[in-house]
């Protein structure tokens, strides 16, 4: 008898929890879905609330305006270039440092690690950093944006934890008896076993660089070098309308009418790389959280 009551309760529980999950799913999904359908609907249908579940009066005028805008193209290219460069530099330098710190036989390991960790909790602040960059003559240079996004102590710690767990001490000892040096051991044995952590690091650096705008805002001064996020800021938030080569009154009026559609389209265009890579991203980001949570 008691069993029956419990299972009855559990049925109710399942119904409630399923409802809550579906609700949660819809709340997160709908805004993203709405952006997508609004970007291909005509402006009047959006502003009168006719676009709810499906796009209305499908047109791609927003997208065609977006692709005529030179700023978006140059922002896209800059972002790709910054992301690739800072990811490559970041993964290589982080894997190297992470591996060194994973080796217990590294003399001065603790004090060295402390030098790294201290920077996570204290910094010179905005202006002193700016003055250093200025002294280095790197204000306005794309390289400063690339470099600033390419070293994260947090990622070094994640890499260290990974190496500590996957590369047994005995492996190096055995290899070194056979005359294998550190460099060869790292290149031939450690790296081939570390595909997962390299992917995690690459994604962490790539996503941070692709999505960030702070360094570009502080250090860049020419629009030709602006990454996509700064251009998006101009279009989405500072509300400057998308510019094209056609400049006449009709075109300007038309543009104001479709400004909202364009904004939706810009959001989609900016998020497409993430969307394409998403299954991959999801897998390795989750993996990264797992490695990060097992602190060494």
């Amino acid at each position: 008898m008691k069993h029956k009551r419990v299972s009855h309760f559990d049925t109710v529980f399942d119904a409630v929890s399923t409802t809550l999950l579906v609700l949660c799913l819809l709340i997160v999904l709908y805004p993203m879905y709405f952006v997508l359908i609004a970007s291909v609907s005509d402006a009047t249908s959006i502003s009168t609330g006719k676009v709810i579940l499906l796009p209305k009066n499908v047109d791609f005028v927003g997208y065609s305006r977006i692709f005529q805008d030179g700023r978006i193209w140059s922002g896209y290219l800059n972002s790709i270039w910054y992301t690739v460069a800072s990811t490559v530099i970041g993964v290589v330098s982080t894997a190297m440092a992470g591996y060194s710190f994973s080796r217990k036989d590294l003399a001065f390991r603790r004090p060295l690690m402390l030098i790294y960790i201290f920077t996570m909790y204290f910094s010179g602040g905005l202006i002193p950093t700016y003055l250093v960059v200025k002294q280095l003559g790197m204000i306005g240079s794309p390289w400063i944006v690339i470099l600033m996004g390419s070293v994260s102590v947090y990622n070094i710690i994640i890499a260290r934890s990974f190496f500590q767990e996957t590369i047994p001490v005995e492996l190096y000892e055995a290899a070194s008896i056979d005359g294998c040096g550190n460099l060869r051991f790292f290149l031939r044995i450690v790296l081939p076993l570390s595909g997962a952590i390299l992917a995690v690091l690459a994604l962490y650096y790539a996503v941070a660089q692709w999505n960030g705008y702070f360094n570009a805002l502080i250090y860049l001064n020419k629009q030709q070098y602006f990454p996509l996020q700064l251009i998006l800021r101009e279009i989405l938030i500072s509300s400057s309308t998308v510019m094209s080569d056609v400049v006449d009154v009709d075109a300007v009026q038309e543009m104001q009418r479709i400004a909202a559609t364009i904004k939706y389209g810009v959001i989609v265009v900016a998020t497409i790389p993430m969307l394409i890579l998403y299954p991959f991203i999801q897998k390795y980001f989750v993996k990264g959280v797992m490695i990060g949570s097992v602190k060494g």
């Binding site: 060295l112 790294y116 002193p128 250093v132 999505n211």
Partner: protein, 304 residues
């Protein structure tokens, strides 16, 4: 003594490649973290770019004094702390709840779909997120259309200062809950199935199992995260707040980091801005250390 010194020297010689591996990141940290820390002294000087850091005259705590006396001081501190604590308090329970629901989800497909969808907003950039908020919450935006449909008064969400904190915090909940639940899901997967089996035999229902088995299992993780977040409350991010600022909500949206940026880079008051930044960093560090001690005492877990 000389023997152990010898051993260290030998170990360094044998592992010189490992030290070489540290060079790129160490160089980066020295250049972009430790050199700026040396430059922090301009907080105590009247820094003139033409004279350089060393050539500028010392003024002691003048800039700090000015900041503590300025009418901005209490507003900035209040805005920063309130926004921070509001966000921590609200965004704390949701990932736990989501993880528990996912853990008890009967349909694998629903579970997978929900995870995929709820993680996604984490990868939307701050600029795009704030852009979405602006189109949704505009006067003629979707939100107001919904309000009108339900017979409610439309509002000026974006120019209403009293809405700023809610928009900031709840959009954070929307964006980060899924991703933040990952760590709890990991903790839940560590719970031994035998505990649940035993509980089922004893006639416990799902809610009881959730309360007495799963919640205690994730509590340590939850408490550590909560404590760490509280320790970081003064280092509230610049990016999202700065994008959401407008002239009408500045009374609640001006926080320390955005003020440092404006005073320092836009108004070029280098020393004053550095002093404010240093005050912020120092207080933050002290809070973090205290909280870390507390965490160590309470849970036996600490950062370092």
């Amino acid at each position: 003594m000389s023997k152990s010194l010898n051993r260290v020297a030998r170990s360094i010689r044998r592992n010189w490649v490992l030290y070489l591996f540290l060079v790129p990141t160490l160089a980066y940290l020295i250049l972009f973290h430790y050199w700026p820390m040396y430059g922090v002294q301009i907080a105590f000087k009247n820094f003139k770019p033409a004279r350089g850091i060393e050539g500028s005259e010392w003024v002691g705590f003048k800039h700090f004094d000015k900041f503590f006396r300025s009418y901005m001081f209490s507003d900035l501190l209040k805005n920063t702390v309130i926004l921070s604590l509001y966000q921590i308090a609200i965004s704390f329970p949701f990932p736990i709840l989501l993880a528990l629901l996912l853990n008890y989800c009967v349909s694998q497909r629903l579970k997978k779909t929900t995870q995929m969808v709820t993680y996604a907003p984490h990868f939307i950039s701050t600029v795009v997120l704030v852009g979405m908020l602006m189109v949704f919450l505009a006067d003629s935006g979707v939100m107001n259309q919904i309000l009108i449909k339900f017979g409610l008064q439309p509002r000026n969400f974006l120019s209403d200062a009293s809405m700023f904190r809610h928009i900031y915090v709840w959009s954070h909940v929307w964006q980060r809950t899924g991703y933040a639940s990952v760590i709890y899901i990991a903790a839940l997967s560590g719970v031994s199935p035998e505990l649940h089996e035993a509980a089922i035999v004893d006639g416990a229902n799902k809610l009881q199992r959730m309360w007495h088995i799963d919640l205690p299992a994730i509590m340590p993780t939850a408490i550590i995260l909560l404590i760490m977040n509280t320790g970081n409350m003064l280092s509230l991010g610049f990016e999202k707040v700065y994008l959401m600022q407008n002239d009408l909500n500045l009374s609640v949206s001006e926080i320390i980091s955005t003020y440092v940026y404006k005073i320092g880079l836009l108004n070029a008051q280098f020393s004053y801005s550095t002093a404010i930044g240093l005050f912020n960093n120092a207080v933050n560090l002290v809070i973090l250390l205290l909280v870390n001690k507390l965490s160590d005492k309470l849970t036996g877990t600490s950062l370092m």
